[in-house]
């Protein structure tokens, strides 16, 4: 990521350099035009003029100035036929050239006034940008701010606290990379938080991500908050679960880079044109021109979506879809037909054969991109429902058992340690009985989030059922696993949950088993279960490692 930051810094320098040279370039165009008027539009001068305009149109957007490219292109398109016809432009045409040239020049004068607000777009789709994890809490309520700091730190966030707007403004002037949790009402100004954020948002390319915290729910204040560019508005007392969800969402690194699209079209030019459009949007694309060659890329490339031309010589798109739908492992992949067919009956027939949707040619590249991305997204969510628990997004019981077999085989192959942990929330029934199921669900979600955040990416977390969780700790022996899980246990017990206006805390018990002592999956899970039972039996809120001799 350091390299990406470095690249962005260098691009910014080039962009600065480009914008610095832009006035001179535009002035040069004006001089060329003046020269042409004097010379009676000699061909060589005209060609030079055209080429200079062309090069502006081909460069502006690369440096972040799409408007320059567009205006230059308009002028270029006007010049081209005149140049090809080798005629001297008449009065009307010269006026049109002047108008288009002035439009181009006008953009620049706007830019000079707007100082450095226009920069290279540094967050394209498909490039993971470093994730800000620092949270800036700005609230004059010292107690609340301190509490937020403690609670958020359990979820792996670094928190800085500010009690006054002035102190926060000062820090912002020195650079900023994070998310702001901003109180709205301050002693000096009842909308002080909103006003400061509006002020700070001015002239930034990427808006500051802000979550407002307010004890008021009035639509007028919410509206002001939206206008100041907030991403969320949370009412006090703050529901920590909702806040963490929002923060996780904002810091998530997921993007469209991983989406893979396979295009099947017998016309290479068209297929490549579609491929180009999708690639420009950051998707990964493979093209197959002969439908009979689809199997290899299908299995190797493993696309998230297949785009099929309806009419191809060796086999029709409908036949191909039917074949794909008869292969069980491909059942989840959306198939989208692409064709100039406008007959609704035929379109429906194609969908009946296993297609998911129908796009009509010719299609605008940006429509193709958004149609493909939205379908891939939806199908990935649907597929995740098959293996994931709906409340927590963790693997479900079946999925984690499958994963355990897989991870155990791998650990054996690589002669690496592996442990399995069972986690059960203590006295969970009391939570549901005292505060209701929605509060119970929130407690389950908070534990699932804590586990996901505190364990490594390779570790596998699942919801085993009810208030029970299962964790596969790869490359960790019993002793390490106990230490890791015990740290999480201590932090979980300190988390404060909110029910109406009451706060309460909950603990969990945990049993762990090591494959060094239990080499079969069923014995490993049984041993972890027994250790969990012992932990419960010895007073709960503790972590137990299964004894080797209990095998």
């Amino acid at each position: 990521m350091a390299e990406l930051a470095d690249l962005q810094a260098k691009l910014k320098l080039l962009s600065d350099d480009y914008v610095a040279k832009l006035p001179a370039k535009l002035e040069q165009l004006v001089q060329m035009r003046d020269g042409l008027v004097q010379s009676g539009w000699d061909v060589e001068g005209f060609e030079n003029f055209h080429r200079s305009v062309h090069s502006l149109s081909g460069s502006g957007k690369t440096f972040g100035f799409a408007d320059v490219s567009v205006a230059a292109r308009n002028l270029e398109n006007y010049l081209k036929p005149l140049l090809q016809a080798k005629v001297q432009p008449d009065q009307e045409q010269r006026e049109q050239i002047d108008r288009l040239l002035n439009e181009l020049k006008g953009l620049n004068s706007v830019r000079e006034k707007a100082d450095d607000t226009v920069m290279v777009d540094v967050s394209p789709v498909g490039v993971a940008v470093s994730v800000p994890r620092r949270i800036y809490v700005v609230d004059d309520d010292r107690e609340l701010a301190a509490e937020l700091k403690v609670q958020l730190s359990y979820f792996g966030y670094q928190v800085s606290v500010f009690h006054t707007l002035d102190s926060f403004r000062l820090v912002m002037q020195q650079g900023f990379d994070g998310i702001v949790l901003m109180d709205i009402n301050f002693p000096e100004d009842s909308l002080g938080g909103v006003h400061l954020i509006s002020e700070l948002q001015q002239g930034r390319t990427a808006p500051i991500p802000v979550i407002f915290l307010s004890s008021h729910d009035a639509i007028e204040i919410r509206l002001e908050a939206v206008r100041a560019g907030c991403v969320a508005y949370l009412k006090k007392p703050v529901n920590l679960g909702v806040l963490i969800d929002k923060l996780d969402e904002l810091t998530s690194t997921q993007n469209a880079a991983a989406y893979r699209v396979l295009i099947v079209d017998d016309e290479p030019e068209l297929a490549n044109f579609y491929a180009g459009s999708l690639e420009q949007a950051g998707l990964s694309v493979r093209v197959v021109n002969d439908p009979l060659q689809i199997m290899k890329p299908l299995l190797e490339f493993s696309p998230d979506l297949v785009l099929i031309d309806m009419y191809m010589p060796s086999c029709s798109g409908m036949e191909l879809a039917k074949v794909l739908r008869q292969i069980d492992t491909l059942i989840g992949i959306p198939i989208v037909f692409l064709s100039s067919e406008t007959n609704m009956d035929k379109q429906l027939a194609a969908i009946g054969l296993g297609g998911d949707d129908f796009l009509t040619k010719p299609i605008e590249p940006q429509h193709l991109v958004s149609a493909v991305i939205s379908r891939v997204k939806r199908s990935l969510i649907l597929r995740s429902f098959m293996v994931r628990d709906s409340l927590t997004g963790l693997l479900n019981h079946t999925a984690i058992k499958n994963q355990l077999d897989h991870e155990m085989a791998r650990a054996r192959r690589q002669s690496k340690p592996l442990t399995f942990a069972m986690v059960d929330i203590d006295h969970f029934k009391n939570v549901n009985d005292s505060y209701g199921h929605p509060v119970g669900d929130r407690v389950i979600k908070s534990l699932s989030r804590l586990l996901k955040q505190r364990l490594r990416e390779n570790d596998v977390v699942g919801r085993y059922g009810g208030e029970e969780f299962a964790v596969i700790l790869v490359d960790a022996d019993g002793e390490t696993a106990v230490r890791v899980m015990d740290d999480i246990r201590k932090d979980f017990a300190k988390l404060l949950h909110l029910a109406e206006d009451k706060e309460f805390s909950v603990s969990f018990s945990c049993g762990i088993a090591d494959i060094a002592h239990f080499s079969e999956a069923s014995k490993l899970t049984d041993a972890a279960d027994r250790a969990l039972y012992q932990a419960k039996h010895s007073g709960r809120n503790q972590v137990r490692l299964a004894d080797a001799k209990s095998d």
Partner: protein
């Protein structure tokens, strides 16, 4: 599996675009990049640099992209070297025209520096798939 793309020659008369393209191709693509200011320079330097892939701007003063391509093809060493044209937004029909001249693909200008290397890699992989 295709051989890995490492040496790219880019011919472009605009110094600003040269600088961005070099950054994008070297840093994001990890390629070794040779930049030439003109078609004539490309013809002169290509034999020593021995590029695996050549990017050619279409509109350049003096020798334009298509002419440069035709001259390159006369050299036995570059009879089959993949060439990509870089040019202002094009219609599919124009793309087909450029391909008839022997280019394997066309990358529209202005390009996005953050995705240029990815586009080049994808075209390379496709042409070697």
């Amino acid at each position: 599996m295709a051989e890995a793309l490492t040496r790219v020659l880019y011919t472009e008369d605009e110094p600003d675009i040269q600088a961005v393209a070099r950054l994008a191709l070297e840093m994001l693509g990890g390629f070794t990049v040779e930049i030439c200011n003109s078609g004539a320079e490309a013809l002169e330097r290509a034999p020593d640099f021995n590029p695996q892939l050549i990017l050619l701007d279409v509109m350049m003063p003096g020798m334009d992209g298509p002419t440069t391509l035709a001259r390159l093809r006369e050299l036995p060493q570059f009879a089959n070297t993949p060439v990509i044209f870089m040019t202002a937004k094009v219609q599919p029909a124009e793309v087909a025209g450029y391909k008839k001249l022997g280019a394997i693909d066309v990358i529209p200008k202005p390009f996005d520096p953050m995705t240029l290397a990815g586009q080049v890699s994808a075209i390379w992989e496709r042409s070697h798939g």
